[in-house]
C-alpha cells in the first residue's frame, strides 16, 4: 500500500507512557510506586462475594447480561448516586456501565466531540484525555490546575459551562479518597450542571480491584443515550460476573453509608496514614512532596537529587522522565515523571517532579523508605 495501512485517527496518539514505564517497572523495580494500583488485597467482603457468586449454580453468570449494565448493579448505583446527588435516578437511563472508567471516558469523547470542537483539559491530567480528544477529532486546550477542587472553584467552572453551553465530563474515580476532613463536591450537584454533566466512577478505585475493569457513567438521559450508542458499537456488553459482585459490594456499602465500618470510611483513613508515612520518608531524604488532599498519588520535587542524573541539553526527553528511568534502573524504585501528565509543549514546565503511588502495603512503603535512606546516605558520604 502506498499510503499508511493505519487510519489517520491514530496520528499522534500512538505513544503511551504506561507501556514503557510498566515494562521498566516489571524489569527493574524492587519497589513499585509507579502505576496506580493497590498492592494490598481487596476488602474481604468483596472477595467473599466473588467466591460465593462463582460457587453457586447460577451459570447464567457466565453469559451475556444487559448491555448497558447488569440490572442489580445499575439499580444500586442509581440508588447510591441518587442519594449523593440529591435527585431521583432511573437505573435504565441515567446510568451506564463501562469497561473501567477508561472506557467511560472513551465513550464520552466519541459521543460528544467532533472535528472542530475544543475540549478544555486541566493540567496535569490523566494522560489518556489528550489522545482520546484527538482521536475524536477534537482540539485539546490546556489550562493549569490544583487538586481537590473547593466548592468555589467548581462553581466557577459551572458558571462558565452554563454561560457557554458547554458539557462537563467529570472524572471522579477517586471520589472516596479525600483526606483531612475535606469534602468531595460533585459538580453535577451544582446549579445548572446536572443537565450538562457526565460523572464517571470506577469500581477499581472504589473497591481496590483495578483488575476487574468495571466503571460507570451517571448523567441525564439526553447525554447517556449517545454514550449507549457508542457503547453498543464498540464493546456492547461488559463482563457479567464482576458486575454482579460489584453490585453486592455497593449494596453492603449503601447499607453502611456514613457508618464507621463502611469501606468508604475505612479506606480513606488507612490511605491518609500511608500518605503521611510516604511524606515523612520523602521529607527525611530531601525530596519535597506536595501533600495531596485526595487520591492515592503524591508528587514530589526531586531537585535535591538532580546531581545523580546529569542534564542533557537539547534532549527530546523531559528531565523528569530520564530521572525516573534512571531511578528504577539504578535504585529499583519505580515512579512516574510528572511530565507524563502534561501536553507536549508544556512537558518541560514541571520537569523536576515525579509521582508516587502510596496505595501500598506497609512492607512496600517501608522498603521504599529503605531505598531512599540508603540513597541519601550514598549522597552525603564521600
Amino acid at each position: 500500500m502506498s499510503r499508511p495501512v493505519q487510519a489517520r485517527r491514530l496520528e499522534g496518539v500512538d505513544k503511551n507512557i504506561w507501556v514503557e514505564f510498566v515494562k521498566l517497572a516489571a524489569t527493574y523495580s524492587t519497589v513499585n510506586l509507579g502505576q496506580g494500583f493497590p498492592d494490598f488485597p481487596p476488602p474481604d467482603f468483596l472477595k467473599e462475594a466473588f467466591t460465593r457468586a462463582l460457587s453457586g449454580e447460577k451459570h447464567m453468570l457466565h453469559q451475556y447480561t444487559r448491555a448497558f449494565g447488569h440490572p442489580p448493579l445499575v439499580k444500586i448505583l442509581a440508588q447510591l448516586f441518587g442519594k449523593l446527588l440529591g435527585r431521583e435516578l432511573d437505573p435504565m437511563t441515567n446510568v451506564m456501565v463501562t469497561v473501567g472508567a477508561y472506557q467511560a471516558l472513551f465513550c464520552c469523547f466519541q459521543a460528544f466531540v467532533d472535528e472542530g470542537d475544543e475540549v478544555i483539559i486541566i493540567e496535569p491530567f490523566f494522560d489518556c484525555y489528550e489522545p482520546m480528544v484527538k482521536m475524536a477529532g477534537g482540539t485539546p486546550v490546556f489550562i493549569p490546575l490544583r487538586p481537590v477542587f473547593s466548592r468555589e472553584e467548581l462553581e466557577l467552572i459551572a458558571d462558565l459551562c452554563v454561560k457557554h453551553d458547554a458539557l462537563c465530563i467529570s472524572d471522579e474515580v477517586y471520589e472516596w479518597l479525600v483526606y483531612d476532613g475535606k469534602e468531595h463536591v460533585r459538580i453535577a450537584s451544582l446549579r445548572g450542571m446536572w443537565d450538562r454533566t457526565v460523572s464517571i466512577g470506577s469500581a477499581g478505585k472504589t473497591f481496590s480491584v483495578t483488575g476487574w475493569k468495571v466503571g460507570w457513567t451517571v448523567g441525564p438521559n439526553r447525554l447517556l443515550q449517545h454514550l449507549r450508542t457508542m457503547h453498543q458499537n464498540s464493546v456492547y456488553h461488559c463482563a457479567t460476573a464482576a458486575q454482579e459482585v460489584v453490585a453486592q459490594g455497593f449494596q453492603r456499602e449503601f447499607e453502611r453509608y456514613g457508618k464507621p465500618d463502611s469501606y468508604f470510611v475505612q479506606l480513606p483513613k488507612e490511605m491518609q496514614q500511608k500518605r503521611d508515612q510516604l511524606v515523612q520518608s520523602l521529607v527525611a531524604v530531601g525530596m519535597k512532596p506536595i501533600i495531596p488532599e485526595g487520591t492515592y498519588f503524591l508528587v514530589a520535587d526531586i531537585s535535591e537529587f538532580k546531581s545523580d542524573v546529569p542534564d542533557v541539553p537539547n534532549s527530546d526527553e523531559p528531565y523528569d522522565s530520564r530521572f525516573a528511568k534512571w531511578m528504577v534502573k539504578n535504585k529499583g524504585l519505580a515512579a512516574i515523571p510528572l511530565s507524563a501528565f502534561y501536553c507536549g509543549p508544556h512537558k518541560n514546565n514541571y520537569n523536576s517532579f515525579i509521582r508516587f503511588c502510596f496505595a501500598k502495603e506497609e512492607a512496600t512503603l517501608k522498603a521504599a523508605d529503605d531505598i531512599l535512606q540508603k540513597w541519601k546516605l550514598e549522597k552525603t558520604t564521600p
Binding site: M1, F50, G211, A241
Partner: protein, 443 residues
C-alpha cells in the same frame, strides 16, 4: 429477557412522541438497537411479547448450556489470588497471550509472538471494533458479505467508510438444503473490489447461515485481496464449532495472506462463556500494533481474573489437542446432535431448514408453510411478520433473517428465520412440544 440487536437512529423516527418514548425505554431496558426506522414501532410489540417467560427463546445467540466445569473452577481458583485483582498487561495478560500463541501456532503452523502478534479485547466484538478503528477510515470501502453479523455495518460507518455489500446466493432450492449451497459468485465478488477497497470482512463459520468456507472459496477471496492489496478481517469466533466432514480453514494460512489478515477469536464462543467478554485479534506485528494503539486509547486493559482463568482453561485443552476429549472438539460433537434434532423437528412441521456446517445457528425457509399473515399489520418484510406471528401464536421465538442484510437484499432473505440451538435439552424439549403441535392449533 430476549435481547435482539438491530441498529437505528432514534432521532429519525416519524413516530408520535409517546411511541418513541415507549420504544426508547424498551430498547434501553432490553439493550437492543433498532434497525430500519420503518419497522421500529413493531419492535415494541415484538420485545414485549418475547419478554414473556412462557415463550421458548431460540432467538438470541446465548448458550443456556453450562460452560465446562473446569472453566468455572479456574475462575473460582483465580478469585482467591489477591494480585490477580489488579491491572495486568494492557495488550493481554501474559499467561493468556502465551497460551493463545501456543494453541494458534499449532493450528496455523507458524510462529506467533505472544507480545506483538496478539491483542486481547473485550469479546470478539471488541476485536472487530479495534480492527476497524485502527485500519479503516473515510474514503475507504469495506466489503461485507450478506447476511452479516449486524455490527459490521455500523462499525464500518462509524469509521467513516462505505460498506459495499455482496450476498451469498442459494444455488440449491431443493429439500436437502445445506449451508454449503450458499455461495459467493466469484465474478460478482471481483466487481466489488476497486482501488478504494481497504478490507473485506469474512465470517467463517458464518452467522447466521452456518457456512464453513472451503479452501477453494477462501482462495478466490485471497486472490482478490492480493491483487487489490486489500486487508482481510476474518471473524472466526465459531472456529471450533464445525461438524462432521467439514474443516475450518484459516484464510490467514493461505499463501500471501498472513501479512494482510487479522483473525478474530472469542472465549465466549470457544468455552460457552459469552459473559466473560474476552476475545482476541491475531495477525502480523505491523497490523496488530495499530490495534494496540486503539486499545490503549479506548479501554487500556481487559479484566485480569477472567484472563488468567481463561489462560488456565486454554492450557488444559492445549495439552489434549490430540485427544478427542479436548473441549475444542467435544463441544461440536455435543452440538451436532442438537443441530440434527432441531433440523428434524423443523422438517416435521414443514419448514425447510438449511443444515449448517458450523456455528450454532440454523436458518429455515418459512415460506413453504404459506401462513396467512394478513392480520399481522404493517409494511414489513415477510420474515419479521412471520416471527411476530410465531411468537404470538406458537410461543416460539427466532430472529428474522432480513435483520442481517443491507437494504437492497431484503427481498432475497425475507423468507428465512434464524434459530439458535446451543440450548439445554429442556429448552429443545419445550421447542419440540410446540413444533409437534404446530399443525394442531388453529392459526
Amino acid at each position: 429477557m430476549t435481547f435482539w440487536k438491530k441498529e437505528c437512529s432514534l432521532r429519525q423516527w416519524p413516530l408520535d412522541t409517546k411511541t418513541q418514548d415507549e420504544l426508547k425505554a424498551l430498547t434501553t431496558m432490553c439493550g437492543i438497537k433498532l434497525v430500519s426506522k420503518r419497522y421500529c414501532h413493531h419492535w415494541v410489540e415484538f420485545t414485549k411479547v418475547a419478554a414473556d417467560p412462557s415463550i421458548v427463546n431460540l432467538g438470541q445467540g446465548l448458550p443456556d448450556i453450562s460452560p465446562p466445569s473446569y472453566v468455572k473452577e479456574e475462575l473460582a481458583n483465580v478469585a482467591a489470588v489477591d494480585r490477580l485483582n489488579q491491572y495486568t498487561r494492557g495488550f493481554g495478560h501474559p499467561s493468556l497471550v502465551k497460551a493463545l500463541s501456543q494453541v494458534y501456532e499449532r493450528v496455523c503452523g507458524r510462529k506467533i509472538d505472544p507480545l506483538t502478534d496478539i491483542l486481547v479485547t473485550v469479546g470478539g466484538y471488541g476485536s472487530l471494533f479495534s480492527t476497524i478503528q485502527a485500519l479503516i477510515e473515510e474514503g475507504d470501502e469495506v466489503i461485507i458479505i450478506e447476511p452479516f453479523y449486524d455490527c459490521y455495518e455500523p462499525m464500518v460507518k462509524m469509521a467513516g467508510a462505505k460498506p459495499v455489500f455482496i450476498p451469498l446466493r442459494n444455488k440449491n432450492d431443493g429439500n436437502c438444503a445445506s449451508s454449503a449451497d450458499w455461495v459467493l459468485d466469484p465474478g460478482e465478488l471481483a466487481k466489488k473490489f476497486n482501488s478504494k477497497t481497504k478490507a473485506i470482512i469474512l465470517n467463517t463459520p458464518h452467522n447466521p447461515i452456518g457456512k464453513v468456507f472451503t479452501r477453494e472459496e477462501l482462495q478466490v477471496i485471497a486472490d482478490l485481496c492480493i491483487k487489490h492489496d486489500t486487508l482481510c478481517i476474518s471473524d472466526e469466533v465459531y472456529e471450533w464449532l464445525v461438524y462432521k466432514g467439514k474443516k475450518h480453514i484459516k484464510i490467514a494460512t493461505l499463501p500471501g495472506m498472513w501479512e494482510r489478515t487479522i483473525t478474530i477469536g472469542s472465549a465466549g464462543k470457544t468455552y460457552s462463556v459469552t459473559g466473560w467478554k474476552l476475545g482476541w485479534s491475531i495477525g502480523p506485528q505491523n497490523l496488530i500494533k495499530h490495534l494496540q494503539v486503539v486499545h490503549q486509547n479506548t479501554l487500556y486493559t481487559c479484566p485480569t481474573p477472567l484472563q488468567e482463568a481463561l489462560a488456565r482453561a486454554f492450557w488444559i485443552d492445549y495439552k489434549r489437542m490430540d485427544d478427542p476429549d479436548c473441549y475444542f472438539y467435544s463441544l461440536s460433537r455435543e452440538l451436532e446432535s442438537k443441530r440434527d434434532r432441531m433440523a428434524q423437528l423443523l422438517r416435521e412441521v414443514g419448514l425447510k431448514p438449511v443444515i449448517p456446517d458450523g456455528g450454532y445457528f440454523m436458518i429455515a425457509d418459512v415460506s413453504t408453510l404459506n401462513v396467512d399473515l394478513s392480520d399481522v399489520d404493517g409494511n414489513q418484510p415477510y420474515d419479521y411478520k412471520f416471527v411476530k406471528w410465531m411468537i404470538k401464536s406458537k410461543k416460539l421465538s427466532a430472529i428474522p433473517l432480513s435483520a442481517f442484510c443491507g437494504p437492497e437484499t431484503k427481498g432475497q432473505f425475507e423468507k428465512y428465520i434464524r434459530f439458535c440451538f446451543i440450548k439445554e435439552d429442556s429448552t429443545l424439549d419445550a421447542a419440540e412440544v410446540i413444533l409437534k403441535n404446530w399443525t394442531k392449533q388453529t392459526d
